[in-house]
């Protein structure tokens, strides 16, 4: 861990957690409900980021993985009355297995072709949930009345935040290891990584499995938060775009960035609701996202880093100047 997490990092994570844990004392339940959705979106965006942001294998079919986790636990717990403590781990394992299918195309194709194949995966599962065994999946209408883990905004807020925080920490640490660096290198030049003696297949498999596990955990807990599931809610191009835009607006390949992006996008949309209850808010939402992205393609994370660096250099200049003035005075 030494070198991966410095005392400053520890302090920042603790400060972030402390602020978030105190939030229910100062904000309304309505705001907490919004944050709960932001927490889940952050989990999905981080899952996408660990696969696509890190390795450059852009997935347009991430809901395929999220959906496997969500549907598995929903079916097991609702149709077969399996306790959640069993259905959720099984759902996560099933999603990891599903991640293997997702990984297979990456052995042969990349770039746009890979993205299109993953999109096909999503379309495939969308059709399957409606046609194959609708008595289990509920067909187009899905399943309503899935057992919820907790009741009320505050308990769900704490739970979703701690889940998101745990996942963020694990992924953030992983991303800062040599393994994470190697994944970044795949995005830059896969042949060079291969030429250096590293197995890109194993590295990619690792990224896919981790991403699938996170998507499975997120999807499984998400459905037990919502209490219902329907194919149109998950296997939808809007959902894919929300995940990807959150990651890109926040800052791809940074893990923290997608978290910031998810919060930003969720809050922006929900806070526009009272002012613009109809579709107009999506226009503002798109415009703000566009302005941010044009200004800094590396996302909010880079904007914050720029501001921090700017302040640091300003402070350094001030110290230098005050030192010079002092010297002058002394002279």
């Amino acid at each position: 861990m030494k070198g991966i997490m410095t005392p400053r990092h520890v302090a920042l994570w603790i400060a972030f957690a402390a602020i978030m844990l105190l939030l229910p004392q100062v904000v309304s339940n309505g705001t907490l409900r919004i944050i709960i959705f932001a927490n889940f979106l952050a989990i999905f965006a981080m899952s996408w980021d660990f696969l696509s942001g890190k390795t450059g294998y852009v997935s347009f079919g991430h809901p395929f993985l999220i959906g496997i986790g969500a549907y598995t636990t929903a079916i097991l717990s609702y149709r077969f009355h399996m306790p959640i403590e069993y259905s959720i781990p099984i759902a996560v394992l099933t999603t990891i297995a599903g991640g293997t299918f997702f990984f297979l195309p990456a052995l042969r194709i990349k770039g746009t072709y890979f993205a299109l194949v993953t999109l096909a995966f999503m379309e495939l599962i969308y059709q399957l949930t409606q046609v194959i065994r609708p008595d289990l999946t509920g067909g187009t209408r899905g399943i309503s009345g899935v057992k919820t883990l907790l009741v009320g905004a505050v308990p769900n807020y704490y739970f979703s935040f701690l889940l998101m925080l745990g996942i963020a920490l694990v992924l953030w640490v992983l991303a800062r290891t040599r393994l994470g660096t190697a994944l970044d290198a795949i995005a830059m030049n896969e042949e060079a990584v291969s030429g250096s003696g590293l197995s890109t297949t194993k590295l990619k498999l690792f990224a896919f499995m981790v991403s699938a596990a996170v998507a499975g955990i997120g999807g499984a807990f998400y459905v037990h938060y919502l209490g219902s599931i329907a194919p149109r809610a998950l296997f939808d191009i809007d959902f894919v775009f929300t995940i990807i835009v959150s990651a890109l607006i926040g800052g791809a390949s940074t893990i923290v960035g997608p978290m910031l992006g998810a919060f930003f996008m969720t809050f922006l949309l929900e806070y526009l609701r009272p002012l613009l209850p109809g579709s107009e808010r999506y226009l503002i939402y798109g415009l703000v996202a566009l302005v941010l992205y044009v200004y800094q393609p590396k996302g909010i994370y880079a904007i914050i880093a720029d501001l921090r660096d700017g302040m640091r250099s300003k402070n350094a200049n001030n110290s230098k100047n005050s030192g010079k003035v002092g010297d002058g005075k002394a002279a």
Partner: protein, 435 residues
């Protein structure tokens, strides 16, 4: 330049942050009604407008519950399940509404149902007819008792539709064989099951084949050729997505075979324009009150107000759920007056006892009442707690029929052709089809 860029970015962030507290102030002495549904769809708008007209009338009459004014707050679902859940949470947590009226489609209502049981807000659905929701009340009344649905469930719709098959398709038209033309959706599968397993056997009609088509199909000529070659007496169409496309091609190609069935786009007054005037001869099942349905005097007053207010915007004429929203709001507040508010213990029994009989020419025409828990419907021998009190047995003198069959004629008129009590026209085959 750099500072300008930063300014733009900070402005973008500030715009979003600055909206945090905006729009959340509201008058203290009001009753809040939440509307949940799609702002863009004809169905969603019908419910929203029907509810708004009822609220305006109640406010103009001096308010409710001791003179309080009613305020309607709206939450758009975009016909998306997750957006529906967020919309319900918004109405409940941020707006603190007292009552919710819904114009949601099936899966969106099913999506927010767990939130309704959590917040325990009285909720009236005006569009979805999903029997699965009523089944939840049958299984667990206490958990779901705040839910009411004032459109007949799909099972009740189906039962009366079988009568149409027997009386008109088999007996009057003498048709014995059909070919099903079904869109590739779960809705299509469900209705196909109903036709092949219930309607056809009961009416003595043989289903020769089923042609399943993709909802993105733009050229139906090979499909219609196959249907004509099958030797069927008529085509049974099942279409909900872009169904004006298949209808207008049927007319333009002058397919020499009669066609009836379920055609969702034909339920609205805009159907004729949507098909470019090529929609004649098409018939479909419709909940009541439908296009072509003669309104009773009280409902006609609502229609007149609706047209005066919204006659220039789509939908120009309320869909069935617009009527349901109008009368539903009136009944919800009548129940609240009796119960002293929307507290479930008193409001739910008061709502269960609401009974609005709308008469026409001395006969019961429409009825807005609800099946009570445990009350058994005579024909199906099952219970429908909190579903509208429909009547599926002629002469329909205990409630409104669960559905009617409407037909669009070649001159652009739409008329009810079944059941006879409500019929304003005869079921016809198009002029280009040999009788």
């Amino acid at each position: 330049m750099q500072s300008m860029k930063k300014l733009v970015a900070v402005a973008a962030l500030a715009l979003s942050a600055g909206l945090v507290s905006a729009g959340w102030s509201h008058a203290a002495d009001t009753i809040k009604v939440g509307f949940i549904g799609s702002f863009a769809s004809d169905a969603g708008r019908s419910t929203m407008r029907g509810a708004q007209i009822a609220i305006d009338e109640l406010n103009a009459a001096g308010g409710v519950l001791g003179g309080k004014q009613i305020e309607m707050v709206k939450a758009d679902t975009h016909e998306d399940v997750t957006e529906g859940i967020k919309a319900y949470e918004y109405l409940a947590e941020t707006e603190g509404v007292d009552f919710i009226i819904s114009g949601c489609i099936d899966d969106v209502s099913l999506g927010w149902l767990p939130r309704m049981t959590e917040y325990k807000i009285p909720t009236l659905d005006t569009w979805t007819s999903n029997i699965g929701i009523i089944d939840k009340l049958v299984e667990d009344y206490d958990t779901y008792k705040m839910y009411f649905m004032n459109v007949a469930t799909d099972e009740a719709l189906a039962t009366l539709y079988v009568d149409f098959g027997k009386d008109i398709l088999a007996k009057k038209m003498g048709w014995k064989k059909t070919i099903i033309l079904q869109e590739d959706t779960a809705f299509g599968n469900a209705i196909n099951g109903l036709v092949t397993q219930l309607l056809a056997p009961e009416a003595g009609i043989e289903v020769l084949d089923t042609i399943v088509y993709d909802t993105a199909t733009v050229d139906f000529s090979p499909i219609f050729s196959r249907a004509v070659d099958s030797g069927a007496d008529f085509i049974y169409l099942i279409a909900s997505v872009n169904s004006q496309v298949v209808s207008s091609q049927y007319v333009k190609l002058q397919v020499p075979l009669a066609m009836t069935g379920v055609n969702v786009s034909a339920l609205g007054q805009e159907y004729w324009d949507d098909t470019g005037g090529a929609g004649g001869g098409i018939s479909t099942l419709s909940p009541v009150p439908s296009v072509g349905f003669v309104a009773d005097p009280e409902s006609q007053k609502f229609v007149d107000k609706y047209i005066a207010e919204y006659g220039n915007e789509r939908p120009k004429y309320p869909h069935f759920n617009g009527f349901n929203a109008y009368w539903g709001i009136k009944q919800a507040f009548a129940a609240a007056e009796e119960a002293g508010g929307f507290g479930l213990d008193k409001w739910v029994p008061a709502m269960e006892n609401q009974d609005l009989k709308l008469m026409k020419d001395g006969k019961l025409w429409l009825r807005y009442a609800f099946w009570k828990p445990g009350e058994v419907e005579e024909r199906t021998q099952r219970t429908y707690p909190h579903n509208i009190r429909f009547d599926i047995t002629p002469p329909y003198d205990d409630g409104a029929p669960s559905m009617v069959v409407i037909q669009w004629y070649e001159n652009g008129d739409a008329k009810v052709v079944y059941p006879p009590k409500y019929a304003t026209g005869e079921f016809e085959v198009p002029s280009w089809v040999k009788k």
